[in-house]
Symmetry: C2
C-alpha cells in the first residue's frame, strides 16, 4: 500500500529519531516542510549541512564550536581563575543565558554510570585534572544536575581534585525563584532550611 | 553574552519553526544532532535537501510526489471511477494507511475560509470539476474533516458537482472503533443514532 514516496518516508524516519518528535509529529513536521519547500526546507537543509561540517568540540573545554577553540575559551575577557564544570553543552548554554558567570567551562559530556559503563576517562575528568595543574585555576564550580548521577559525579571530581588544593564548590540549593513552598518537594525544602541565610 | 555559535543559533531558529517544536525543544533537537553529526545530522541534511529538490505536487491530484504523476495516479491498478476528495496530503496518507480505498484522490490543500480569504480557486475545486467532466468518474467521496470548515467545503463541492450528475457521498458518521458512549460528545452520539443500521 503506497504511502508517501520512499525518500519522503526515509526523511520522516530520520526526523522521528529527534528527541521530542515521534513518528506522528515527524510526519507532521515533514508535511509542513514540504509545503514550504523554498521558504523553510531548503534553508534548513543547508543550515544543517553547514553546521554538521563546521561544528566540532572545543579542544580545551568540550563546548561545541565552529573553531578549534570555542568563543568562550578564545575570549580574553573571560577569567582563567574559575572553571565551571557542567554535564552537557545544554547546561553551559543555560548558564550563559542566565549570565553572571565570567569564567570558563569544562563540559564532561555526561555523568559517571556503572550501569552504562561510563568511567572518568569517557567524561574528560583526567583532562580537567590536567587543566587544573596546567592553568592558574583557583576555583572549580561543580554545576552538575541535582540528580543522584550528577551528585555522584560531583563527589568523584571533588576527590580527584583534592590533591591539587584548588577550591571546589557546588551550586547553592534552595527555593527556586518564584517557587511556592506548597509545591516544592521535601528534599528542596530541607535543603533550603539547611542553607538558610541571615537577612 | 555568547550562547551557541551563530550558525548553530540560526539552525535552532529554523528548527523552532517546525510544528510541534518550540525554541526549547528545537535547542534539544539540535544538540542531539550535534552529538551525532555523522550518524544522524549529515544523513538528515542530505535527505532533506534531496526531498526539497525532488518533491513536487502531482499534476492530477495534488498529492506530494517525486515525479510529475504521484504513485497513486500512475498506478494502473487504481480505479478511475471513484475520486476521494481530501483536505490535505496528511489525510490522503491516513486513508492509505487505513487501506480499503482503491480509487484515486483529489487533494484540496485546505478548506474554504472567508476569514482567510480562501476561495474555491485556491482549493483546486475548479480542477476537480474539470476532472469529473474529463474522466469517467461515477462517484466522488468527500472525505473532509468533520469540522465546520470541512463540512462547509463539502457542501460547496457537492453543489458545484451537482450539474455533472456524479454521485457524491461523505464518510459515515458514528461511534469510532473502541469508542465508549460515556466519553463521546453529544454530536457523535446523535449522528450514530441517526446512522443506525439493522443487524
Amino acid at each position: 500500500m503506497a504511502r508517501a514516496p520512499g525518500e519522503i518516508e526515509a526523511l520522516i524516519a530520520l526526523m522521528a529519531r529527534l528527541p521530542g518528535l515521534g513518528p506522528r509529529s515527524a510526519r507532521r513536521a515533514v508535511l509542513h516542510l514540504l509545503k514550504k519547500r523554498t521558504l523553510v526546507m531548503e534553508p534548513l537543509a543547508q543550515a544543517m549541512a553547514r553546521v554538521a561540517q563546521t561544528a566540532r568540540d572545543c579542544r580545551v573545554c568540550g563546548n561545541i564550536s565552529d573553531d578549534d577553540l570555542c568563543p568562550i575559551c578564545a575570549d580574553p575577557a573571560r577569567g582563567r581563575g574559575v572553571i565551571c564544570v557542567v554535564e552537557d553543552v545544554s547546561d553551559l548554554w543555560a548558564l550563559e543565558r542566565a549570565g553572571g558567570f565570567s569564567g570558563r567551562y569544562h563540559v564532561l559530556g555526561g555523568t559517571l554510570s556503572a550501569l552504562d559503563s561510563v568511567g572518568p576517562e569517557a567524561l574528560r575528568i583526567p583532562d580537567l585534572v590536567d587543566r587544573i595543574a596546567g592553568e592558574s585555576v583557583s576555583e572549580v564550580i561543580l554545576a552538575l544536575n541535582a540528580t543522584v548521577e550528577g551528585q555522584t559525579t560531583a563527589h568523584y571530581i571533588a576527590e580527584a581534585l583534592a590533591p591539587s588544593g584548588v577550591s571546589v564548590s557546588t551550586l547553592g540549593r534552595g527555593v527556586p525563584m518564584g517557587g511556592e513552598l506548597d509545591y516544592l518537594d521535601d528534599g528542596t525544602i530541607a535543603a533550603a532550611l539547611a542553607a538558610r541565610r541571615q537577612i
